[in-house]
Amino acid sequence: MSPDEPSLARLMTASQRGDRAAYRALLVGCRRWLERYFARRIAPHQIDDLVQETLVSMHRKLATWDSGRAFLPWLAAIARYRWIDMLRRQRDEAELGDNDAAVGAGDEAVHARLSIDHLLALLPPKQAQAITLVKIEGASIAEASQICGQSESLVKVNIHRGLKKLAELIESE
């Protein structure tokens, strides 16, 4: 069953007072919510890592939730920040030539693509193609270069620029 806003807000209020049982229940609820949130945004093999990073960030920033405001927008802001951070790291990896972010091409991978497609559609086609091939389908830079008909360095540049623009698009969401 999906966690609802009033229950999560109640658990968060108790957690800020130091109630560990409430906090544990809150983290379990947030985990479920985050898994669904990220499933529509990133490749499946990255979801668990991002959920863990978000839970740790949430733990460090517990005091920044104001009980007078809704809980889920606060959690979503932290999740989005971690997501952008991951995109930036991928961009830096692309800059360094690290292109081993392979993903299985099963149903899950295809499903994850559906949700990010609307963001990729906002990028120039060559950037979107380079990101799709290397970061989602797991092709090497050399393979992507052959498929796109671009030089390897141009593929890297397109990934770098595309990921930067993706991060900006998400930030302005």
Partner: protein
Amino acid sequence: MKDASIDNLIDDLAGDLAPVRPRRVARGSLWVAAGWVGGAAALVWIFGMRKDLVVHGMPPLSMLAFWLTAATGLAATWSALRMGLPGVGRDYGGWRWAVGASLSLPLAALAACIADGHAAMEAARHGFGLRCLLQGLASGLGVGAALFFWLRAGAPTSPTRAGWVIGIAAGAAGATIVALHCSSDEVVHIAFWHGSAVLLSAIAGRLILPRFLRW
């Protein structure tokens, strides 16, 4: 495997929980007010207040510039304080309107330059230009520091934007403080030298702060 590691993480985090005091914008506002008043007190104590301020009050043009700059500083401060408490859908952009309104000062200065370039250059050169700029930058440090520490302990989701906004708030605060000391009532002087404190402070905030605001 991953499921187990997330379960373990949840157990660890729950075991590590300690009570926290929720952060309130009102408390951050007090820090900023202390920084603003402290900067003003320091400048007036070291360099003195403009002589006609107590007797006649500020002339209309300087008064208008003062309140436009103060509005920019207050709007940027409010945005920065809110950035420390994140939430998707929250609007942090109020400062842009104040900045837009305060651009009327450089536009007025530009109009003065076009009307009489020589007189405008003399007005800009007259008095204490560079000193006003440096005093403005230094006087805003209290507000800048208060906002920086507030956001560092908070959770700004766009450190780059936070750096800009802290810089604008600090520069605008410094410019209002300098107006208590500077006796020039020339629009060109105010727009160029006092306005440069806001601009340089904003650029410094953008270049220096984001790396320290990431979390």
